[in-house]
Symmetry: C2
Subunit: 723 residues, 2 copies
């Protein structure tokens, strides 16, 4: 890696991979836009006997697709009542998008035709490629090469297609529903079956989709390309993503960042969290985190919201799209039942959703507003009095919204699936709407429990100015927590980093590693390398006694095992005796080892020990892991992780995320550790690791000791790739 | 407490509270049965102007209640088309159940009437009692006293009522739907509003209810009484419980046990998990666990399934009711999408649901059964091939069910809300049903995502022999995990304990506590009490050197602070010097302390330190808490808890529940700790604490040291109630 303008993680990542674009000819948003919003379509391999052909033809008809649709089949004839061309070229017309429903064996032939007809892009339904293993993967590479050569973008193979709902363009091979008015959620999925589930569920909840893109085997267009495309479209306001694996990390980071810049948050359900770690071999640091932890770190750093179920994916993305950016600390929730308030309180505690205590002034105003039976608090049980006097709702919401700690408001009430004769629900929800208007902050009405939302419920609430979700208290409160967390992410100050340059050295011994760290302003314990007992005694005298002796040898990793460590030595005699004993012991145990000498350092007292290690994720690049030393990190694997480089606030967050964080605040009467200084040191360790370039697998500081008001690296270790 | 026949927790608890029944005259299932299944009803305070009166009258009419309904209003007249009596007594008929809808101020008067009319029981809708604070609580006590005197059972006050769906008896004051055929779930809730939500949600999911009982303020009939009543009814097969607080612990334990004995599992959503602990004052042990942990322990011991949302409450109880007892280790899940299988795998990992690897023989048979594209595994992606050849489903389910590790099977497929013309779904589900029949184990078809279940979907699946839930993969898989866990609970061998007697002593000093523990076969470190430096030297010589000296004084709790501990002493001189220094130091620091002498013990090496403490929960009684010593217990509060007494398997479970459990298996080259021996020691500490009777607040062993193949209590401490 060469010198690069270091800044935050996103810029680092994108810039360090900037050659990627150049290596993938034909990549570009224009070609993709032609595919995803085609003026003309060819169904290649169309036949009335296929359920896929029938479904896509039926979809195009029902959606009222405005462009030209060509049927293409080598046998010609009449298909779906229209004369079929024997090839794309034979149509003699410009075709923006072709849907290939031909066997894998006919694929190369088909591409020759597409090339001749200058087709823009192709969706490949056909299976029989990488999903079958290595032979299939080879065929897929041939296919990708043919497409690249022909200058044609591919979606697939093994892919159900895409639907551009806003352009009434369903190139999708199973039956689909038309777009809902006001749709603003886009779905991207590597699995077509899951995309279908999401569409079904979104419709049930009356969440309108703008686009649905399945990427299948991703021979060319990946989820990153799809996200990048959607970032440029006006309709989607948030993107729901189902992810199995990221095939092009750099583009993924760039695409998610482009979406964020365009004000479109990405919500992801990524599977594979239970994968056994594949990194046990990669030094200690790798063994402390699972594969999936890197992706968690990435989400934290890129502002991606990670969810755990398909329901949560749609409910959360919908609220991002409809409530827009949320700023502020916490959620104010109002319900008409104390039981619901209690459930929400427990849930908020368990899931880390902030439901702040209200300010005294807010409580005082609520007390004036509410009937005597109701107790002002958050969550607020407005009681059944709201049924008799719905105006209470509007007034209470306004008061709650005025509290400085509140960023978003929730009101729990089930929209009726059918309006009642007496219009009670309408009156009630009208008052909720009035409250939402006066609140001046994002507001949501949510159902008590999970319920589907029919057209009538959606229409009534929209008419009365109320954003309503049928996700129920559990899903909606968690989703609002996600909105608040992303608001905080968005509000974070990101400072530009210094120029970052790699150095041309490979420190391998403890001493060399500590010296390298010191050059990056990591405080390290003083150390003198000596080569005789006399020198050891001299060195010890210059340090604050007591001292530690450690063997210095590039050939000895585990010093204790060969008698290469002597602790807590006081006085000349003890130092001399320890030196001689160590030399004898090490020479006997490792006669072939090259000995640089012995390190003399001051013995430090007890304090808080930390573990700080960097690692190189094969996919995502360098990352840093922090843990509290000893049992916490070794047994509980209590660590936090970020991709490098990090900034001061990242390091502070990492410390706070540790389950044992309280140890830093002065455990058993010990003084508190200076977290700012500790965070600076962690940032510096990251910088020191980055400077060693891409061959560094791991740099570990273990322990980093905070004791006696001092923070110091006591030992350092590196591991290098063999290449 | 006197001698009692000790056995497991349940028997201990019920027996130790057996005087409770005697103190509550009129308590008995017969009177409650008369109230909950009345042959005649009086609506007291009935008026056509009240929405409550109207709702209950309408409910009774719509349900076709077969008994006699009397309108009672002091003004007489015609109400709902029928002549009203001016009082219950004025009806001149026997009334089993009265619904009181009169103001709080008229309550005593109303009770005089009920008494005169010999009414069996009363539901009290009226509010204005304990929910308003202390003045209201007094009024409620008067009410309860009046009812007791009159021999009338009360449900409420501040209570929406009950509905006995199976007897078509809705004494419920908001509109209700009639029972569904085959209903088998009962709902009990302390909140009427939440009961209403549960009824609504259960109907939406087509979960049929047998009973719904709201208990309100519980002046008399509590959730325990309701559960006890339901335990005796044939229709409910599982009970869903919404709980705010348990007012009568002993009856609660007895009722849940009665339900379990009748084969009716209890599933509970209890709020209050986020309550700040009220026990910080109660010694160390109390500060390590929150209030709500005791209830968690109770659930583990009584086989209660605890859930976290209203949706989960209904989905889980429904599966308990319809799938019946589950025996076996794990879940086999089949879906038609790899994506769903991946989601389930991650979820199972996160939520602790066992989805076992299949045996080689099962995999081999599946390989023969399945098409080439499908890979035999668990979860099983049966692929789209099942659409073309639905017989695959039946065969695969049969093979999966034959695996010895499988206790319950799940198949993911959405039942259609309307049958399609071509009967595709019917054919498909028929094959699922055939598979379920041949499986011979409990089987569930579940929707991909959360969806409501209409009558048609329920009827179709029932007709085809398929148990179907619309709870979606997330809720259903978790619910099946609950079923498996309860199956394991049910299969546990519970041995009878020995006779347990309390002793008449109050050990307070370290020495006395350790001696008491030793009497209960807890291994304790050897110790000799000496009163001079000479004696100390003599004692040290008899022990394996090195030794520890500790001051023995009932007045000194924190020995280290006053110089009362000297560690690692070797040789006569060191012991003598330490003794003299300790005496000087302690006398200077605590001149008024009474000194019993100095304890001489062998110094033990490093090992695994545990914390074992008992505490007395003000509501649930004695409990035991285990943690791993040091940072894990102090900073992370990594503890497990059970109510006392416990058995060997409980103690083994407690150790396994610790996040740091791996420490017991030999950390950093240390030998593994003998868990069986450790568990026996923990059980013995519990027995030793119980023997000290109800005035013992806490007995702590800290540390319990496992080192050098030895397990020993090194220190012991008790705390006693002031009474």
């Amino acid at each position: 890696m060469r010198a690069r303008p270091g800044c935050n993680y996103k810029e680092y990542y994108v810039l360090s991979h900037q050659t990627y674009e150049a290596a993938a000819p034909g990549v570009g948003r224009q070609a993709i836009e032609r595919l995803f919003n085609p003026r003309s379509i060819a169904l290649v391999g169309a036949t009335e006997r296929s359920i896929w052909s029938t479904a896509v033809q039926d979809n195009l008809t029902r959606f009222g697709y405005a462009g030209r649709v060509h049927m293409v089949n080598p046998k010609g004839g009449t298909i779906f009542g229209q004369a079929a061309a024997t090839s794309c070229a034979a149509t003699g017309e410009e075709i923006d998008a072709a849907l290939l429903m031909v066997p894998e064996s006919k694929m190369i032939e088909a591409f020759a035709d597409l090339r001749q007809a200058r087709v823009g892009g192709a969706v490949i339904l056909s299976a029989g490629f990488a999903e079958l293993g290595s032979a299939g993967a080879e065929r897929q590479q041939e296919l990708a090469a043919a497409a690249r050569e022909a200058g044609i973008r591919i979606l697939g193979p093994n892919c159900l297609g895409f639907a551009n709902f806003v352009a009434n363009t369903p190139m999708w091979t199973t039956p689909l529903r038309r777009a809902m008015p006001g749709a603003n959620v886009a779905v991207v999925s590597q699995s077509g079956a899951i995309a279908g589930q999401l569409e079904q569920f979104a419709y049930q909840q009356r969440v309108g989709l703008t686009h649905m893109i399945a990427t299948g085997n991703e021979a060319d267009i990946s989820v990153a390309d799809a996200i990048d495309y959607l970032a440029g479209q006006p309709e989607p306001r948030a993107i729901a993503l189902f992810l199995e694996s990221v095939r092009d990390p750099a583009r993924f980071v760039a695409a998610v960042s482009a979406a964020a810049a365009a004000g479109k948050p990405v919500v992801v359900l990524k599977v594979g969290t239970s994968e056994a770690t594949a990194r046990a071999a990669q030094a200690h640091t790798g063994s402390l985190v699972g594969n999936d932890r890197t992706f968690d770190a990435l989400c934290l750093q890129l502002g991606i919201t990670r969810v755990r179920s398909l329901e949560e994916l749609i409910v959360t993305t919908d609220l991002f799209a409809r409530l827009g950016p949320v700023t502020g600390k916490g959620l104010a929730l109002t319900a008409m039942s104390g039981g619901v308030c209690e459930i929400v309180t427990d849930q908020a505690e368990a899931e880390g959703v902030a439901i702040p205590q209200l300010a005294d002034a807010t409580l005082a105003r609520l007390r004036e507003t509410l009937p005597a039976l109701a107790t002002p608090s958050n969550p607020l049980d407005i009681t059944g009095a709201a049924m008799l006097e719905p105006e209470l709702i509007a007034r209470s919401l306004e008061e709650l919204a005025s509290d400085p700690s509140i960023g978003v408001l929730g009101f729990v009430f089930d929209a009726p699936l059918k309006e009642d004769k007496r219009g009670f629900a309408r009156t009630f929800i009208k008052n909720v709407g009035a409250g939402f208007q006066s609140a001046g902050k994002p507001c949501l009405m949510m159902s008590n429990t999970f319920t589907s939302v029919n057209g009538e419920a959606r229409a009534l609430t929209e008419e009365l100015g109320v954003v309503y979700s049928g996700g129920g208290v559990r899903h909606c409160v968690n989703a609002l927590g996600h909105l608040l967390r992303r608001g905080a992410w968005q509000a974070r100050v990101r400072t530009a980093g210094a120029q970052r340059a790699t150095v041309d050295r490979r420190p391998a011994t403890e001493r060399a590693v500590l010296e390298h760290l010191a050059a990056y302003e990591v405080p390290v314990v003083p150390a003198l390398v000596v080569r005789s007992a006399d020198e050891a005694v001299q060195a010890a005298r210059t340090l604050d006694a007591p001292v530690v002796l450690k063997i210095a040898s590039p050939d000895i990793l585990h010093k204790t095992e060969v008698g290469g460590v002597a602790l807590n030595l006081r006085g000349d005699d003890a130092v001399r005796a320890a030196y001689d004993k160590m030399m004898a012991s090490v020479t006997a145990a490792k006669p072939e080892a090259s000995i640089d000498g012995v390190i003399v350092s001051p013995m430090r007292g007890a304090g808080v020990e930390l573990f700080v290690g960097t690692m190189r994720d094969p996919q995502w690049g360098p990352a840093i892991v922090v843990g509290l030393g000893g049992v916490l990190v070794e047994v509980l694997k209590d660590t936090s992780m970020r991709l490098l480089p990090i900034q001061q606030q990242d390091a502070l967050d990492m410390l706070q995320e540790l389950r044992g964080a309280a140890l830093l605040d002065g455990f058993r009467g010990a003084p508190a550790v200076d977290r700012e200084q500790l965070a600076r040191t962690i940032v510096a360790i990251g910088e020191a690791a980055l400077a060693l370039g891409p061959d560094l697998l791991s740099l570990e500081v273990n322990p980093l000791l905070a004791a006696d008001g001092r923070i110091e690296a006591l030992d350092g270790l590196t591991e290098w790739s063999q290449s």
